[in-house]
Structure formats: structure tokens, C-alpha cells
Symmetry: C2
Subunit: 418 residues, 2 copies
């Protein structure tokens, strides 16, 4: 069968399966999740054997250590996949919940009921744990899902797919509810992105290159973020010790992720005091500082920043620093260079805190807290399927609820329209 | 300037204007809406003169009476446009409202704040009143908007556009907040649909052909419905008099609109009694009935339905009728042929009503009420910008709130991530 036909058949069978899972009980979905968790543990040695094939090929092809690390399924990975599923079981089932209802003058009672989206396609790189995490969240939200991981993980993903299928069948759910694309040819991704009749939403997870490829080729709506150029603004009325801790945490706690700080903006009134204080720990931690002229004057260790530093997502121990005249200039700078991901202000001033919350156009806006809190788990959504910096449907971290939508339900007693 | 550059400049200036309107106060937005309403009334004779040019051209080109009717701006149209704007003023401003907040174990307080989407493009046919309705709703929700009506209405829309611009300037808002594309060449639509850097959402309003054109050519997300193939299922336990009234209203009150019933499903146990009762008034009203074999046996006046009748959106005094074995068959039929728009059940049975509400996958699902209630105004959203049968972002009638999204706001006291 050609790649086109294989993918089309998968998408059609996912659409059929989505109708069944959409009306399955919470108990049934949770049983399926628990059964997948058990089977992953039972079949751990088989999964690791298949993963070893991927690792051997990866070494032959000379993949970087970082990539091999992400590809590896260890005993700890197995445990964390199973535990992740058990945590999803504990989340409330969003499907069927109704919001507040209101009554119309003619007596009709109207409310919104939460329902699954249908079929979701996830396109990701070579981390086999995403296969399990994404499958679990989609299933909990009553959706069917088609997973397409990087070709380097094909053996691992096939083994996980078999395990999931067996668990679904044993629970009395259709195995087509969760499918892994078994084709490593990238053409399979192109085909998947054209199944707009059967797939409702695509979520890409990975680097900017993968995401741009998906957006440019998809006929299906895509929820994504390209990058996170996150700012912390230290206001003239900041508690400087608090600001130092927040800035250090935002930059250094995990510099390679999208919610790490990339640019620090400092009010000129406190720059002379604050910058040396903050720079001390940054430099100890190996952070390279690229600053505006004023920053370089105050911090002789800093390098002069170039224009390309302001929009840069370093994902590394590098920090751009700018001294600003006032909050207007900070907001202006953020408006120009931010990726609408995460921005934070450190201040003791009520009205500037309030203004920052209202005016900064980012998916998560924080006062006196680290940018690292833009994360589904940290913010209280439970597990996270990704972060959206597009404003439609979901803006910010996306949990199980963001994998659903609402329909209106109307209760009448014979009302007709006059 | 080329069409491409004109459209690109419009889109860029709309993006800039969107930043100002996003943070404008409710008072300012409402003042602008009231000023537009006043100016439309003041400049009524100028607007009607310009409209006359469109009408003259339309008659020369031999447009249908129905089209000329939709194109006409009468005194009543002027009044209804102005009143529509004044009603939008009375709606609550969605922007800046925060939902329930929750507290994390580390003390962070998290909530969602409603914010505008940014720039919205509306593509519609030759009804000049849409120019005012859509501009009003987008403005209320804090968005900039680019309007592109049918080329037949170009003089009317330019006159309305001038009026709106003057009102915006007088109120101290940027005139680029509301722009009408001044080019009648359809190429302008193609260009508009490629401005994905500056436009956040496209809403097409019009026939299925227009909507398919927009979806196929847009690089920007589109909220739309193609058609409304709406069903009423009359259950074995229906109050037959209520069912008759609901069916008649759903079909006949305004047959040319998307929420009119197109197919009636009747449980076999009550078909012999109900169908003659319902058919009497349908036939008096000139409704042609196309039925399954069983329907034709019971109603000699009915014609035999063909397979193409089941997915048909007649938008006319024609009704497809099918007698079904039970609710399973009704749900199965709806699952196969519905356009996910509007479906209703008439029943006195609690558990079937409950099941219908849960299982039917349509944007509005009703019990014991007419399908004609799928409408933003009727359902209580205030004015309506359209109806979405796509599930992402909004599913069902869309009011002012659906022209916004939410960001997360997080209040801390120095929290960092461990």
C-alpha cells in the first residue's frame, strides 16, 4: 500500500474510533490508561530491546550525545512514563462537564457542555516518552490520536504502539484510538498534514525548524509556539534581592527550555546597584552577558550587544541586558522583540504591576515570580501537551481541557421562534 | 501602488492599530461606537446616494432581485445599523475580565484574563449592513478589523468606511482600527488571506462557495460553517402537538437560513399518528415532502427521497423525512449526514433527552425547542458575528467573547522554581 493510502486509512479509522472514545465513560478511559501503564512495565525489557536498535543505528549515524540521551529508554524512563499515565488518571475528566447555565426570557435554559475535539495529530522528534505522554492526555480528553515521532525512534515507538494497542483491546476500546505512524519516510508527515477531513488539530513538538515545516505544509489547524524570547523587567521599585533570585532562576535553572529568560530589562534608577549584584552570580554560573552601552559601562565584564541579540532565543547560558528609561521603554522593547510566550515584572509598585499584567501581550504574564513557571504542571493544569503562542483556541500552556471544546446545550419546553 | 502592497500596508497598519485598541478603555470604545451610530444617521443621505450607484450598476448587470434586496441601504437599514451599534454598547466589555483564580502550593495565584485576538479579517458578500455589524463587534472586543465586502457594494462600503474613520478620529482612536478594502478586484481577497503575519483570524460570511474559496486560499486560521443540515428527531415519547409546532417552526419560519430544519426523523411507533398531523400544516404552507418508503406509505402526498436528499441543505420549502426504528438509528443518521450545526430532539423521556444532549456532536443541541434558536442573540450572547461548526476556538454561535482569547496572569511574592 502506498504511503498516501496507509496514512489516509489510518486517519479514517481514527475518525471512526474518535466517535467511540468521545462517548466512553471516565472509568473506561481511566482503566485503559492504567492498563497501558501496567503493560509498559510488564514489557519493559522488550521495549528496551527495541529501543537498543534505535540507539545502535543512532550511534552508527553519529547522532549527538544530546540526541542519543533524548532517544534512550532507560528503566527510569519506563517508570516515569507509567507514573505519568497514573497522574493523568487522577485528573478530572473534562468531557461532559457543563459550565454555568443561563435562562432566556422565553424560558430556554442554555449552557455549554465540554466535548472532545475529535482526532489529534502529534508530530514530534525523537523522544519516545512523548508517545506515551501525548497518547495519555489525548485519550483522557476523549480524543483519538495519531502519533508521528522522529524516524530515529521508529523501533521504540512501534514497540510502545503495540503495547498501547493491546491495552486498548483488553479494555474494550478500539486499538485505532491511538495509532503510531509506522513509516519513517518524511513523506508520511506531508500526507498526515493533508487529512483535514479526518484530523481536527495538529500539535507539533520540537525545534523551530520542525514547527515551521508543519505550519507551512498543514491544511489542518496547528497549535504551536515557535520560540520563547522571555523577558524579566526589574522595575525601579523592585526588591533587589527578590529580583536577583528571580532573574537567576529564570536564566540558569534550565537554560535550554522555552520559558527561560533571554533578555533582562533594568530600570536606569536601580541599574548601578542591581546589575553588579545580579552579574556576580550570573558570571559565577558561567553566564555570558551581552549588554547595551549603559550595561557595559556598569559591568566591565559584559560584551556589547548587537541588534541580533534582542530577538535571540539563546537556549544557552547567554543573557542580553538592557537598561531602560522607564516602564514605557520596557513595554515597548517587549512589544517589539517578545515572542508572546512569557514575561515577568519584579516590582513593589501596585500600579505598574497592574499595568504590566494588563498590557503585556504574552501567554503567561507574571509579577514577582520566575518565568520558569510557564508550564502546565506548575500553573496547575496537570500534565501539559505543549504551550501555544497562537491566540486562537488556546494561548499558553495546554492541559487536558485545551484538548476539548464546548457545544451549547439548550433545554426547552416546546419553545418556538416568533 | 500594487494590490499586494496596498493590502500589505493595510494589514500592517491594522496590526499597529490593534495594539492601541487592545488597551483602550471600555468608555472610549463605547464612545466610538456611539459616534459611528450618530454619524451614520447624520450622513444617511450621502450613504444612500453612494448606495444608489451600487444599485444602478447591479441593475445594469442584471443581478437578481434577492441580491438587490440585500444590497439596498434604505432608511430602515440605516436605523437598524445605528441601533445595532447602540445594542453592542450595552454588552459588557469582555476585555480585561478575569476568571476564577486558583492558588498553587507555593503560593502563586493564577487566573485567566480575557484579551483581544488582535486583527480580524471579515470577508463577506454584498450586504452593507455586515460592514457596520462586524466593525461594531470587533471594536467592542478590542480588535482591529479589515472588512472586505462584495464588489457589488463597493460604493456603499466606501461611504460607510469614511463615516467610521471620521468617528474613530473624533474619538481619539486610530482610523486604521477599522478599514474597508477599497479594491473590488478579487485578487485583493487572495492577498488579504496571505497576511498571516498581521492578521490573526479570518471570518467569512456568505454562501458555501465563498467560504470554500476562503478556506482553500487562506494561510490564516478561518472560523466558519459551510452549511446547516439540521435535524429534528421526534421520539416515540414526544408530545405530538409540541413536536408539530417545533417541526413547523424549524422548517417554515425562515426556510432560507442555516438553522432551519432540513430533515425530520420520526420514531416508527408514532409515525402513523404524527406524520399526517405534521404534514397537514407543512403542505398548507407549500412544503414539499421527500420521504423514505415508510413515509411515502403513510403520506401519499410525499415524493420518494433519493440518497442525495439526506445530505441536502435545501434552504427552501422542501423537507426530507425518514421513519426510524429507534433512537440508535436516528443518532446514526445524524452522525452520517449532519453538518454539526444544530439538532433537536422532541421527547418526554428523561434518559433519551440526556443521551441526545451528550452524544449528538453538533454546535447546538436542543431538547423540546426549535432549531431556529441557534443564533447568538437568541441563545443570549448578544449580537453575533457568525456560527462556527469547526471545533477549535469556538463551536456554535460566536458573540463578542468569541472575538477574544485569554492569557494567564500569575501573582507571586518572589517564587522561583526548585
Amino acid at each position: 500500500m502506498s504511503i498516501e493510502s496507509t496514512i489516509m486509512e489510518m486517519a479514517k479509522s481514527a475518525r471512526l474510533a474518535s466517535k467511540k472514545i468521545a462517548t466512553s465513560s471516565s472509568d473506561k478511559k481511566d482503566t485503559a490508561l492504567l492498563t497501558i501503564a501496567e503493560k509498559i512495565e510488564e514489557k519493559a525489557s522488550y521495549i528496551k530491546t527495541e529501543n537498543q536498535k534505535d540507539l545502535d543505528l543512532a550511534r552508527e549515524r553519529g547522532l549527538s550525545n544530546a540526541m542519543i540521551d533524548r532517544l534512550t529508554v532507560s528503566d527510569a524512563t519506563i517508570k516515569s512514563m507509567a507514573e505519568g499515565l497514573r497522574e493523568v488518571v487522577l485528573l478530572p475528566d473534562p468531557v461532559g462537564a457543563t459550565g454555568a447555565s443561563w435562562k432566556r426570557p422565553n424560558g430556554l435554559t442554555v449552557s455549554r457542555m465540554r466535548i472532545p475535539l475529535g482526532v489529534i495529530g502529534i508530530i514530534y522528534e525523537s523522544r519516545p516518552n512523548v508517545t506515551i505522554d501525548a497518547a495519555g492526555l489525548c485519550l483522557k480528553a476523549g480524543n483519538a490520536v495519531i502519533l508521528r515521532g522522529g524516524s530515529e525512534a521508529i523501533h521504540s515507538n512501534r514497540a510502545l504502539s503495540e503495547t498501547i494497542s493491546q491495552a486498548l483491546s483488553e479494555t474494550g476500546l478500539l486499538p485505532e484510538t491511538v495509532q503510531v505512524v509506522p513509516i519513517s519516510d518524511r513523506k508520511a508527515v506531508n500526507c498526515l498534514l493533508k487529512q483535514e477531513e479526518s484530523i481536527d488539530l495538529i500539535i507539533p513538538r520540537g525545534g523551530e525548524g520542525l514547527i515551521r515545516f508543519v505550519v507551512e505544509n498543514s491544511k489542518i489547524p496547528v497549535l504551536k509556539h515557535y520560540k520563547g524570547v522571555c523577558h524579566v523587567y526589574v522595575d525601579e521599585d523592585a526588591d533587589l534581592n527578590m529580583a536577583e533570585k528571580i532573574c537567576f532562576n529564570s536564566k540558569v535553572q534550565r537554560p535550554g527550555v522555552c520559558n527561560a529568560m533571554e533578555t533582562l530589562l533594568v530600570h536606569k534608577k536601580i541599574a548601578e546597584t542591581f546589575l553588579p549584584l545580579a552579574a556576580k552570580r550570573f558570571i559565577e554560573a558561567g553566564v555570558e552577558i551581552r549588554g547595551c552601552s549603559e550595561t557595559c559601562r556598569i559591568l566591565p565584564a559584559a560584551k556589547q550587544a548587537a541588534e541580533e541579540d534582542w530577538p535571540a532565543e539563546y537556549l544557552d547560558l547567554i543573557l542580553a541586558v538592557k537598561v531602560v528609561e522607564n516602564m514605557d521603554e520596557a513595554a515597548q522593547h517587549i512589544g517589539t522583540y517578545s515572542s508572546n510566550h512569557t514575561e515577568a515584572i519584579v516590582t513593589k509598585d501596585y500600579s505598574r504591576a497592574h499595568r504590566f499584567l494588563r498590557e503585556i501581550d504574552s501567554s503567561v504574564v507574571l509579577v514577582n515570580a520566575s518565568t520558569r513557571f510557564n508550564d502546565g504542571g506548575q500553573i496547575g493544569l496537570g500534565a501539559e501537551i505543549g504551550i501555544s503562542t497562537s491566540k486562537l483556541h488556546a494561548f499558553g500552556p495546554m492541559g487536558v481541557e485545551e484538548l476539548t471544546t464546548t457545544k451549547f446545550i439548550v433545554l426547552g419546553e416546546g419553545q418556538i421562534r416568533e
